[in-house]
Symmetry: C2
Subunit: 246 residues, 2 copies
DNA sequence: CGTCGAATTGACTTGGTTCAATCGACGTGG
DNA sequence: CCACGTCGATTGAACCAAGTCAATTCGACG
């Protein structure tokens, strides 16, 4: 074999420079790794492992101990909470290059599930926390992301508490379009694959599957969106979609 | 006058030791100031000012620039967001000794209003940010609080998205009882004054005033709570209330 | 005692859920 | 290659929890 495995390549890096796996990783620029120098990045990369999970894989369970953190490299992860009787609510979605895991807590307060096929860059809890302790810039970067997540959670509380079913579904589609489709800045045309099933969307919006389906059909009838299959969505005019978000 | 104003007292402290105003402040122990040494506390205290606001006072407006942060010393502050058409959602409540303000952001993403009469310990944005920059332990403390707020926001998303009106009102009363009444640990009897009007409660729960009122009446009829006036609530058995939270 | 805003209560309407039937894409085995 | 079963999505019809609209009632305060 001409090349070793990806793992071997990474372990073989002893010179300075950005590790191979990090070269195309968004976290290097927009995620937590942006706080690191090249040599720190090399140190961290030695302790990480790229892992793949198929859609539906349970990555962490509510109230279960967690011994690692991760960065999302590809795909979408959903964060969920459930009531004892089974009612479920999705309380967050993580896209690349988001950081995953509840820092400084021994157990997860949410459960995490791969919504689509995902690729994660995993690091042990201890290793990352040691790195954070001696690198305030890294904690600062993670603080910034946490604050952004808090802003997003609060935005979503307005959607959950005060919007109609039609506005909720529009808000969801707008959220996905602006997070997944790289070609848009909230303007014009957008085409993407929904990373969530109708059931997931319902759990995210606090609705039932049937209501989500009806609202999507209505948006289609009103020509705000068009759909091929069940997942591929085309939004001809994002502004028109935004106008329906309440 | 035998004593100078509270302000003068604080400015007069040049010796080491905990500043007078800080002696009885919960933030010293459970809030962000717990990360500071005595001398750092003295430095910070020189740049703070205690301010009072009456219930209803607007402390910061959504999308308006903010030039100061604060710690809640007494009372309750509500964080709200509104849709263009006036629908409003309360996205968070802050109790002593919570930190108030969106760190590292030039404008507020929520508006803040005094829910009850409040006492705040205000500090300029620049002064605190400078202190954070040279004191990683302080940023760590604030990170911990931010993470806790994120956990709370996500808990509340479940309430907003998946609970019935009856469960929402019970959840709200339980939240207030456990945050305001010092005599309980989520067990047994609790007596407290509601810091929010029925309208506020409705905005917190994503309900209407009428529905909140009906659910409170129902809880009273079921002897889960009793009420004197409109604000003073007695919960004879918190466990019974918790059992209705879904 | 009267006024005014907040809270409660009642009657009715409705948006979203529930229950049920059907559709459609996909994978399996005959 | 096609029949069949499965599972997610869609659609329809009936129902109900919460909203709306409309009186009262309560409580604080002058």
């Amino acid at each position: 074999m001409q090349n070793g495995s990806m793992e071997e390549k990474r372990l073989d890096i002893h010179t300075a420079g950005v590790p191979l796996v990090c070269r195309s990783c968004e976290a290097r620029h927009k995620g937590m790794c942006g706080a690191l120098t090249e040599s720190e990045l090399v140190t961290l990369a030695r302790q990480t492992r790229i892992v793949h999970h198929a859609a539906g894989a349970e990555l962490a369970a509510e109230a279960m101990p967690v011994e690692s953190y991760a960065n999302v490299m590809r795909g979408v992860v959903k964060l969920t909470k459930i009531l004892e009787d089974g009612r479920q609510q999705i309380v967050g979605l993580q896209f690349a290059p988001d950081f995953m895991g509840r820092l400084f807590s021994r157990e997860s307060v949410v459960s995490m599930e791969a919504a689509s096929d995902v690729e994660l860059c995993r690091v042990s809890k201890g290793a990352l926390e040691r790195m954070i302790a001696e690198n305030p810039a890294l904690e600062h970067r993670l603080m910034q992301q946490t604050l952004r997540e808090l802003d997003e959670a609060r935005d979503w509380m307005v959607t959950l508490g005060r919007k109609t079913a039609a506005e909720k579904v529009s808000s969801f589609l707008y959220l996905i379009a602006t997070h997944i489709d790289p070609t848009t800045e909230g303007q014009g045309l957008s085409v993407f694959d929904l990373p969530l099933t109708r059931g997931d969307i319902a759990d995210f919006l606090g609705l039932t599957i049937e209501t989500v389906s009806r609202q999507i059909s209505q948006l289609r009838a009103d020509r705000v969106i068009s759909i091929e299959g069940v997942r591929r969505v085309t939004v001809p005019d994002l502004a028109a979609l935004l106008a329906r978000c309440g």
